[in-house]
């Protein structure tokens, strides 16, 4: 029966028998061996038994068998065709390891990732609201009128659409018109309540006080 405290020495005994145990562990093991007859006996077995076991050989089926088996395998693989390459992660890893360009490639990849992260942080995907109001505010009065006219054409018969570009429907129509003339293919339009005072004032200025009149 192996004692519990001897268990930690089992792999060390194997290495010691093979002559590959690290010096610091060897000292520790040798101190243990002085007082442990079980491990001493194990060490003797680990040293002597493999040599005795290696004399045990399986029966040799003979040269004719080896030759015939090689021929059979060779015939079969010729019928199988060429083994197919698979592009897996491991293959890419190996290719990179072998390549002299691995550091430049890694640096470029890191730079691209950093740029992507910066782009997402600076312009989050869900922030189209701000860009719509900003871009609408940047349009001059003539352009807004043109867009509103186009919007009216898109949604005929609705008088309330006239000259209220911060109104949801007008803005959507204006954006649709913008799409038509190839300007701003944007998805979402802000509510008036989302706009800052400065934006509303600027819109008032552009539209000659239309917003104030409505209010």
């Amino acid at each position: 029966m192996t004692r519990w405290r001897c268990r930690r020495y089992q792999p060390w005994l194997v290495d010691h028998a093979d002559g590959v145990l690290h010096a610091s562990r060897r000292e520790q093991l040798e101190r243990h061996l002085i007082r442990c007859p079980v491990c001493r006996a194990d060490l003797v077995a680990l040293r002597d038994l493999p040599a005795a076991l290696s004399t045990s050989l399986v029966p040799d089926p003979g040269d004719a068998f080896w030759l015939e088996q090689r021929r059979a395998i060779s015939r079969t693989i010729r019928n199988l065709g060429k083994p197919r390459h698979s592009w897996n992660v491991e293959w890419i890893r190996q290719a990179l390891q072998l390549s002299l360009w691995r550091y430049p490639i890694a640096a470029t990849a890191a730079l691209l990732v950093a740029l992507l992260v910066y782009r997402i942080a600076a312009h989050p995907l869900g922030s189209s609201t701000d860009s719509v109001s900003t871009q609408l505010a940047q349009l001059d009065a003539d352009m807004l009128v043109t867009l509103a006219d186009l919007a009216e054409a898109v949604t005929p018969g609705d008088d309330s659409l006239n000259y209220s570009p911060h109104d949801d429907e007008v803005a959507r129509a204006a954006l649709a018109a913008g799409d038509l003339i190839g300007t701003h293919p944007l998805a979402h339009v802000p509510d008036e309540s989302d706009m800052s005072d400065a934006e509303l004032e600027r819109m008032d200025d552009l539209l000659g006080g239309a917003t104030s009149d409505e209010a």
Partner: protein
Amino acid sequence: MQPAPALEDAELVRGTLAGRRADFDILVERYQKALYSFAFRFVHDHEQTADIVQTTFLQAYTRLAQFSGRATFKTWLHQIALNECRQWHRSARGRQQVSLDDVHEDTLTAATQTETGSGGWKSLLERLIARLPLRQREVLTLRIFNDLPFKEIARVEGMSENSAKVNYHHAITRLRAWMHEGGE
């Protein structure tokens, strides 16, 4: 004229993947006997062993592109052979085979005494090895008969290097105990 230096396994694998099937023939010749002796210790039947060796090489050929090179080709090949042996053990034919694991210890001791007396030393060792638990037998066989280092054995077995050494330790000490019992 000096003989041409033997090509490395990795080079032969690359050659095979590039379409040079003769390179794979060299690999077969190089590892055929090692795989046979490995498989025979699990199967104990010539025909079955020959089948396992052939299937192992065919599997290796068809999956050669998946060989990553992290382990040596020899280790990878033994891993495939080991899977084939395990599959054979699970199969109906493997279960039908009389397992030495099932033989009662007293019976085995009597048998070993008889065989020692009749000079069947090698046969006795084979019987004792066959009686080891499968995992210990695998580790012992890979270490002693197929000369794999523990690091590679750990890869083949899917265990840590430490576990491989502990299994080997158990196999050796168990064999020693059985041999003492048989010789008394």
